[in-house]
Amino acid sequence: MYSEKVMDHFMNPRNVGEIEKADGVGEVGNAKCGDIMKIYLKVDDGIITDVKFKTFGCGSAIATSSMATELIKGKSIEEAVKLTNNAVVEALDGLPKPKVHCSVLAEQAVKAALYDYAQKNNIVIPGLEDYVPAKDVHDHHDGDGEE
């Protein structure tokens, strides 16, 4: 069902935890329909020097959180904001179709954390000008059924 990479990131997730006094925190999702993802950022000089996550969700949700944090760690905030769910899926060697939405959540969690950082520091990050923090971004489980 899942690729080896997904299982690796699920069983040995990178960057699990919290950052005390984080520079940016983003929480997305809705326990009502699925998962909750929370991302903590430490930013120095516009560079993400540390990132942690906590996730309540399925294997795919945990693996995409882990991969997303890996992909933005050490990057500038401008680069991090460009992270797409497709990039996360690709880095994980793919996800089953009904699980792709979990990766959208990962992208949204990163954006939410960056937005929080921008708010706290009174800056505008290119690409986030029109960002509206939405908690319920979880268009859940449109499986491949036909009926």
Binding site: C33, G34, C58, S60, I62
Partner: protein, 389 residues
């Protein structure tokens, strides 16, 4: 080889050796079509008759009241559509419950789109229907009540005899899906007084793709599968003789071993329930504490999600199932967990472990040990757990 512990006996069971042995000659020696009048056909027909007798005996029915199908779902569809279409001149109202198997619920929904009206009874926090609500739901137009015997997710056992009495009093047909009941609790259709009852072979250590339905003599029902004259013209299709032979043997074994089987799985079930309750906090046992399938364990583990739990268990060789939305392939968590009043969050963390004849004490120890670690690891990752700590 890696340790592999199967705790998903309510999903399906391995076939017993005696069952396979019994089936073997029918694949390419006694392979005839039971409708043929030559010797190959007669061999097949004899085997068919014996299997039918065995199923009949297992539930206290007459052999002529047993019809073989291609599985439990086909039998559910047949019972409900067959009664609905054959009796629509009498009425168009059906009563069922919110916790039925999808093979009942989705048929009812289909009938709703085709001129029938369906009442879905509530259940209480333990998954029990309310007999008073049932009585009130019955109208002049009611033609069928369909309430399952034993729930496949939470294991709750319904008061079938009482329901049958109410149905009889009101002159309404009563069907019960006994797929999870056969081989796990004693069944006597005459004593229970039901009109239709269906079974599935692969849940009782028999082959997959075979089921049966008890249709009480005199019940007015249409076929679901029209065609040849098999099954007394009620269910067409060349009979799956090896499958039917295996099912018959499995039913015979199930009845012979019923007491020992129940004692064995119940002991392990209770050990697993206690092990979880005593070692992990924020858990909730789903289903009825006593009126319960002897091998069913169903817990919610707060703050974590079922699929993650299943995958983690699978990594240490333990096979279970979950009613979490993430494993359901649909928007919502299990309709059964919703019906007993769980919130989406809580339902998300559900785990069903179902015990069978091949489960051992050591298996249970191994499961408890691993479950403790896994639940803890997943909770450490959970933003929800953080808050309660």
């Amino acid at each position: 080889m890696k340790k592999r512990i199967y705790l998903d006996y309510s999903a399906t069971t391995p076939m017993k050796k005696e069952v396979l042995d019994e089936m073997m000659p029918y694949f390419n020696e006694k392979f005839g079509n039971a409708s043929s009048i030559h010797s190959f056909g007669r061999e097949a027909k004899e085997a068919l008759d014996i299997a039918r007798d065995r199923i009949a005996k297992a539930i206290g029915a007459a052999s002529s009241e047993i019809f073989f199908t291609g599985g439990g779902s086909e039998a559910d569809n047949w019972a409900i559509k067959g009664i609905a279409f054959a009796n629509k001149n009498k009425g168009s109202h059906i009563i069922t419950s919110k916790i039925e198997h999808h093979a009942v619920l989705h048929v009812c929904e289909y009938l709703e789109k085709n001129g029938f009206e369906v009442t879905y009874l509530d259940v209480d926090e333990y998954g029990m229907i309310d007999l008073e609500q049932l009585k009130e739901a019955i109208t002049d137009k009611t033609i069928l009540i369909s309430i399952m015997f034993v729930n496949n997710e939470i294991g709750t056992i319904q008061p079938i005899k009482e329901i049958a009495e109410i149905a009889k009093e009101k002159g309404v047909y009563f069907h019960t899906d006994a797929v999870q009941a056969l081989g796990n609790i004693p069944i006597d259709v005459k004593e229970l007084g039901v009109d239709l009852m269906n079974f599935s072979s692969h849940k009782i250590y028999g082959p997959k793709g075979v089921g049966a339905i008890y249709i009480k003599k005199g019940v007015k029902i249409h076929p679901l599968i029209h065609g040849g004259a098999q099954e007394r013209k009620r269910r067409a299709g060349t009979e799956n003789i090896p499958g039917i032979v295996g099912f018959g043997k499995a039913a015979e074994l199930a009845i012979e071993n019923l007491d020992a089987h129940i004692a064995h799985i119940q002991k392990l079930r209770d050990k697993l329930i206690e092990g979880i309750k005593n070692n992990i906090d924020y858990v909730r046992l789903n289903g009825h504490p006593t009126k319960r399938h002897p091998g069913n364990v169903n817990f919610c583990f707060e703050f974590i999600e079922g699929e993650s739990l299943l995958l983690s268990l699978d990594m240490v060789g333990i096979a279970g199932s979950s009613g979490s939305a993430c494993t359901s392939g649909s928007l919502d968590p299990s309709h059964v967990l919703m019906a007993i009043g769980l919130t989406h969050e809580i339902a998300h963390g559900s785990l069903r472990l179902t015990i069978g004849d091949f489960t051992t004490e050591e298996d249970i120890d191994y499961v408890i040990e691993n479950l403790i670690t896994i639940v803890d690891r997943l909770r450490q990752m959970s933003p929800l757990y953080e808050k309660v700590k």
